[in-house]
Every structure is written in C-alpha cells, then in structure tokens.
C-alpha cells in the first residue's frame, strides 16, 4: 500500500505538517531573537541564576525521586500482584490532573501547617517558597515519565537471562545489578532524561508552591505579563537552547541497545 505514489505523497504531507507544527514556533522564537538580545540576556544575572536553579531543581527531583522509583518500576515489570492495574493508574495520575491543581494538592501535604512541612522546617528545609518545594512539585508532575520508561525497559529484558544468572549462582541483588539494570539502562536513563526535561518545563504546580525563588518558566511568564513579549522572548530562547543542548547530550550518552540472542 505504501508503494503507491499518491499514498506516499499524503504520508509525506501529513508528516511534514506535524513536524512543522512542532519545529516552526520554536525556530521562529529562536530566529526572531537578535544576537544583541541573546548577548544581553546571557549577561542578565536574574536569567542565569533562574536557569541554574531550574536545571538543578529538576536534576535534584530526578536524582532523588527518579532513582527511588526504579525498584517500583522493576516490581511492576516483573511481578503480578493484586491491584497492579490500580497502581499503574495511580502512577499516571500526575499526567492527567491539571498541574495547578497538583500544586494545590501538594500544598495540602507540605505547607507549614502539616506534619511534613513542620518536619521539614525542623530540619531547616522550607518547602513553601523554597527550593525543596520546587523539587517536590517538579518531581510530582514528572515521575510518571521515569517510572513508565523504566518499567517498560525492565519488562523488555528477557526473564530467561535473569533465570540463567540465578542458575549460575548469582544472588537476586547481583542479578539485578549485573543483568536487569544494565540491559534496561537505556530505558531507565531515557525515562530519567524525560523526567528531568518535564521537570524543567513545569510551571503550574511550582507557581502555587514557590513563586520565589523564581524558576525560568515563572520568570518568562512574569516578564511576559509585566513587560510584554519582546522581554520574555530572549529568556525563552536561551532557556530552550540550554534545554536542547543538555537533552541531546544525554540522549547520545544514554548508551547503546543490545541485541538479545533468541
């Protein structure tokens, strides 16, 4: 069917339209920003510290919550247990609920009046209006990306390889770290990269919990509402370029796929 030239033309047209839909706004934004605006924005300390904060907060959320979620992902991939479907559904909840609502919900757990908030205050960690709150908000909305990718990665590792390792005398822990995790590595890292990238772009949940210190999405919004498009655009352009550079680098470094003999 695909060999018919009319079909090919339709496929090319649709594919081109979809790609253009994604690329055009970003390219337009980057191209419309002049070199002088780039230079001035890079020297703006408010912008650079905001980008630094955003990258680090999202990285923190990914390292803490993403890595903690790896055992759960393995469990979901390998074991059958009651309410597994329900748990899979719960994991996807942050994706489907509005993120401002997620922020309100989180506030109910980490605000100063709650025991979590009070415990944090006692340990010198302030969630509301603090970096810890930003990390929690970013983690909440982006965790499904890490868990789902890792779960699919572990599920794709042939169980027979794990059984073979057990049969060779390896402990379950050694099997996990020497077989399951290395073979699912690409998916796990890919999920963590996606989680980190999703965390970077979070706005709705973070603005409810911590307007300040200001992450870049909030800074862009603030400049747009206070000064207009021409002030917001260079910040958005720089932020997009930084994210793209890191995103591409991490995808390249996430390792090769292994061919499993079968």
């Amino acid at each position: 069917m695909l060999k018919d030239w009319r079909t090919q033309l339709v496929i090319i047209f649709f594919s081109g339209f979809i790609l253009l839909f994604i690329v055009a706004p970003i390219a337009g934004l980057l191209l419309r920003t002049s070199p002088a605006e780039y230079a001035a924005t890079i020297q703006d300390s408010e912008v650079t510290s905001s980008i630094g904060l955003t990258l680090l907060a999202s990285m923190g959320a990914t390292l803490i919550f993403g890595i903690l979620s790896v055992p759960l992902a393995y469990l979901l991939a390998r074991r059958d247990f009651p309410f597994k479907g329900l748990i899979n559904g719960i994991i996807d909840l942050p994706v489907v609920i509005p993120h401002s609502a997620a922020g309100i919900a989180l506030l109910g757990v980490i605000s100063r009046g709650t025991w979590v908030g009070q415990a944090g205050e006692a340990a010198g960690i302030s969630f509301v209006g603090g970096v810890a709150g930003i990390v929690v908000a970013m983690a909440f909305v982006s965790l499904p990306f890490a868990i789902n990718a890792a779960r699919d990665g572990f599920a794709a590792v042939p169980e027979k390889l794990e059984k073979a390792a057990l049969n060779l005398g390896a402990s379950p822990q050694r099997v996990f770290f020497s077989i399951s995790l290395p073979l699912a590595k690409r998916s796990v890292i890919s999920g963590l990269v996606m989680m980190w990238a999703r965390g970077l772009s979070e706005f709705g949940a973070v603005i409810i919990i911590a307007y300040h210190p200001m992450i870049t999405p909030i800074l862009i919004w603030e400049r747009f509402t206070s000064f207009g498009l021409s002030y917001a655009r260079p910040v958005a352009a720089i932020f997009i370029l930084v994210c793209l550079a890191i995103f591409i680098t991490m995808r390249v470094l996430s390792g090769k796929r292994y061919h499993v003999r079968n």
Binding site: A165, L166, N167, L168, Y258, R261
Partner: protein
C-alpha cells in the same frame, strides 16, 4: 545418585504429572517428547526455576526440593542459550566464577580453560550478538560448566545447529559426560537420543510414558506413541475377534485386510501390533521356514542409510525393512521388484 519422585507441576492449563526417575552419577539421560510435552518444564523444576505442586528431588540421598536456585548443583543450558548480550564471551563464561573465592587471575584462567574445552578461546572478546548459533551454544555450555554443576541440564542443545556442528557438539557432550558429569538432555530427536544416551525417558502431554536404556525402550515400546516417536515403523492396528485364537496363535486383521499372526494374547479387540524392521526377512520366493507370517509384495522405494538399506515394500500394508547393502546386490533389490516378506509370530509385539 539423583532421584526424582512424583513431581507434579501446574502451569496455567499445563500439567506435569507424577514424574519419577532415578539416575546414577555419570548417567546421560535423554528426555524425548514433542513440543509442549513438558520437557523444558521438567528441567526448570530440577533447576529450581519452577516450583512443583508436589514431589521431591534427592541428590545423593539429600532432599534438595526446597533448595534455592543458586545453591542447587544443576547447571541449565537454555535452548536459546540466554547469553548475557551486554557482556563479552569472557565475562559470560566467568559470570559463575565470581564470589567463589577465586582471585581475578584464577577466574580468568578458569574461563580460559573452559573456553579451550569448548573451543571458543578465539571468541573471548566478542559479544554474543556477533556469534553464530554453534559458537553461542558452546559459550553457553562453557558458562554453565564454570558453575561446576553436578548435573548438567541441556534444553535442545543441538536443535539450531547444522549437521557438522551438531556432530562436533555431540562429541563434546560425550567427552563431558565421560569425565563423570551427569547430563539430562532434552530433545525431540530420537536419533540424538539414541546416539548419546545411557538412558531415555519419553514424555507425552506432561506424563512420563516410558524410561530405561535406549535399546530397551526402542525394542519394547509400551505404546504406539512411544513406538512411532522412537522412529519405529511397521505398526498396524489390528482387529481381533473371539475366533482369532487358533493353535496357540492370535490372528489379527489389519485395516487393509492382511492377517498378522502373533504369539501374545492381544487382550483387546483392537490392538497395535509392531514388527521391528530388522526381524523381517526379504526373499525372492516364498520360503519354507517356521515364519508364519509370509506376504508377497513389491518394492516401492529404497533408501541408503548409514547402517544399511531401508526398503519400503507394499504387501497389502506398507512395510519398512532394513537389509544390508550386500543383500540388495545379491538379490538385485530395486523399486518395482516383486519379493516375499516373512517374519515369525514371536517377532510381533503387542503395544
């Protein structure tokens, strides 16, 4: 000594029922059966990868039924090898050597020794994805031998190999077995079983139908399934009625209306009779012998085998007869030639 007692397994709709076997140290048991018969499940039960519903496994008198997978002295080689794709051959082989109190150098030496035994020393730095089927099979064998199992469990190890590689690996398996290692080898190929085994077990639909020495099983199959599966031909369903017995002989009528006489009582109205091909005599004319069963037929086909010549003869029913090459030349046996077949009633076995 390995004793398997009344192993029962339920996996979804599949059941492995009351499997009991006994093996001496250094035995080579081949488990024969069709696909889905439960052969691989039996290996996985022995290796501890599948928990049986009931049954026990004793090794040298010690109950190991509840021993963890890691501690069981059974090394399993999967049909598809299950090599670790992210590790070079060297690390695959050395995988079982870690945590055994060996230094890094000793591990490398042991891995090299096993690689030499299995003739894969030139592949040590390659990854499994780049190996041929035969190479991967040898690496899988070396990797399992590294765990020094008391019993080697092989799941269709020759299935994916060409004739030459199959022969080479067969020799290697014999060598490993001769060194004293007990081997349980699963296959669906009766020839493989016949050439390698000291004992044979035949499984059909999760049940152990027959087991023993190959010559006993192939010579005295307990059922039509075993006979056909063992590659035995000349099996005929015969009808016996009340008047079938005459002068101490039982006369059965085949579906194509030839009468076959046997000494043993069939015990039922419809019974399968089996005549080993090597017990049938081929002659140019009717013989005056003690053989009760004599039929005139015509040679349909001739196959030259390693150990003789197989004649396919239509004598009302189709018979397969194995004769020597000398007989073929002496009698001028060729397709289309008319011949006589004869065999004694005592050669006929009831299944």
């Amino acid at each position: 000594m390995l004793e398997i007692k009344n192993i029962n397994v339920r996996l979804g709709g599949f059941r492995l029922k009351n499997i009991s076997l006994e093996l001496e140290p250094g035995d080579y048991l081949t488990v024969l059966g069709l696909s889905g018969a439960g052969k691989t499940v039996l290996l996985e039960v022995l290796a501890g990868l599948v928990k049986p519903e009931a049954g026990e496994i004793f090794l040298d008198g010690k109950d190991i039924s509840h021993q963890s997978i890691q501690k069981r002295p059974f090394g399993l080689v999967y049909q598809d090898m299950a090599l670790f794709p992210h590790m070079p051959v060297r690390k695959n082989i050395a995988y079982a050597l870690k945590g055994k109190g060996l230094s890094g150098k000793e591990q490398q030496e042991k891995a090299l020794e096993l690689a030499r035994l299995t003739q894969v020393e030139h592949l040590l730095d390659r990854h499994p994805g780049t190996l041929s089927g035969g190479e991967a099979q040898r690496v899988a064998l070396a990797r399992t031998l590294a765990s020094d199992p008391e019993v080697l469990l092989l799941d269709e190890p020759l299935a994916s190999l060409d004739v030459k590689l199959r022969q080479e690996l067969r020799e290697l398996l014999k060598k490993i077995n001769q060194s004293g290692k007990t081997i349980i080898h699963v296959t669906h190929d009766p020839m493989e079983a016949a050439t390698l085994s000291k004992k044979i077990a035949i499984i059909e639909k999760g049940e152990l139908i027959q087991w023993g020495k190959p010559e006993e099983v192939f010579r005295n199959p307990v059922s039509e399934f075993v006979a056909r599966f063992s590659g035995i031909k000349n099996i005929f369903l015969c009808e016996f009625d009340k008047s079938s017995e005459k002068n101490g002989l039982y006369h059965g009528l085949t579906k194509k209306n030839i009468i076959i006489s046997c000494l043993d009582e069939p015990g039922k109205e419809n019974a399968h009779l089996m005549i080993p091909g090597e017990d049938i005599i081929v002659s140019e004319g009717k013989l005056e012998t003690s053989a009760i069963n004599q039929y005139e037929g015509i040679i349909n086909e001739i196959y030259f085998l390693n150990h003789g010549v197989e004649l396919i003869i239509d004598a009302g029913e189709i018979f397969s007869v194995v004769v020597s090459k000398r007989s073929v030349e002496k009698l001028g046996l060729a397709p289309g030639k008319e011949v006589w077949l004869s065999f004694k009633a005592s050669a006929v076995k009831i299944l």
